[in-house]
Symmetry: C2
Subunit: 241 residues, 2 copies
């Protein structure tokens, strides 16, 4: 049997050179959108509505019962929204049963791009839900695109490392012949045992740690602490059960 | 003194997110345009005219005394041109004193993009002229962009490895804080001692070795065998003396 193929896309700016029709796209935004999404759903959020503008976030928040608005631009809570983009803001006792309307700098933008470009299925991935992502991908028999959200279209390491972590686990189920994937896997294999130290060298860690977010960032590179599968259905990310 | 900065651009598609004004851009197309350019100039070519279409290649070739036309699309000599994109085609006894009019899939395209976007200086880099590139960059006191030509805008490893080789050698002279550069340097450091073996894993090697080009490709990942500095002046690449 021909295996489906797997590609890694290193920046939203590179999405347009791939044909993602009838494929699964994994949206990766390790610092911090997809880590927050996994955490909120793991802790019982009913759903997450990812939106690509602050205005939509406020409007949908106002129209949705039992919802909260949240979002971040450049690492900070956006004025006019209620919460930020930190997984630590969403413990079970706060988020259970609620709808989170979320907008972020990079991750939600890529999700909408993938949607508009014809992906058949969109899920989100982060170290906190690594196993859930890999278990899902192995069963789907579809082509996969690991989509790194990057930082304003610039390549980033943390999303690439997560792509590498996925590749290490699922590669026997896929045909993989793309330099991005080979690089991602190698970078992950070289650093899987010093992830906290290595992640501190990334530009995004520097950017965010200025805001006192070190604990948050360490959580975001910790495997399987919110092991749920967020899948996009009818405009929302819900936990696949 | 503030050091100038250095960035690595992993695909021509990402060039537009950087401000390259008043900067030096190093065009990198390891397999094989920039390796061929270094080799032809090292072997005494008078100049190389990089053009972005076959039609221009033929027209300029016809109008230029003592010139030859050469070019490659998808690894093969283009119909209507005289030679291909292999460094082995340009020994001294053939190329000395001649003008090479060259068009290639990726490298000459990126060169023209960088030119149109306002780079103040354009040079070309490849393993055969690694030292010449590094020596030049260290003396310039300008911001540097290492521009990987990639493969039809897809990230490729061989250009990234060369960027990493440059970074290893020049990093003390620059302010470098970009994940692309950090990754490129790490990939190079991990593979500098097994370059022949590792380069064989890249997609581009697979693509080209089908045409019996293994010797060519090994040459293209060999350091300093054509150690000249090609610099773009008045429409041509010439050897800086």
């Amino acid at each position: 049997m021909n295996k489906p193929y797997l590609h890694t896309i290193l920046s939203p700016e590179l999405l347009n050179i791939y044909d993602i029709n009838d494929s699964i796209v994994v949206i990766i935004d390790v610092f911090r959108a997809t880590s927050t999404i996994a955490t909120a759903l793991y802790n019982g959020a009913e759903k997450i509505i990812p939106v690509d503008s602050v205005e939509k976030c406020i409007a949908i928040g106002n129209a949705t019962p039992n919802s909260i608005t949240a979002g971040e631009r450049d690492g900070k809570v956006i004025e006019g929204l209620q919460y930020g983009n930190s997984p630590a803001e969403y413990p079970r006792k706060f988020i259970e049963g609620k709808t989170l309307v979320l907008t972020t700098t990079n991750g939600t933008k890529l999700l909408h791009m993938a949607l508009n470009k014809g992906a058949s299925e969109i899920i989100t991935g982060s170290f906190p839900n690594l196993n859930a992502v890999c278990n899902f991908l192995r069963t789907q028999k579809k082509n996969i695109f690991l989509g790194c959200s990057a930082w304003k279209n610039r390549f980033n390491l943390e999303d690439t490392l997560f792509a590498g972590a996925v590749i290490e686990k699922v590669k026997s189920s896929f045909h993989i012949h793309c330099d991005s994937s080979l690089m991602a896997e190698q970078m992950y294999l070289h650093h899987k045992h010093d992830m906290f130290a290595f992640a501190r060298l990334t530009t995004h860690w520097h950017r965010l740690s200025k805001f006192g977010l070190d604990k948050d960032l360490e959580y975001c590179v910790t495997n399987n602490v919110a092991d749920v599968l967020p899948i996009y259905k009818n405009g929302s990310l819900i936990a696949l059960t």
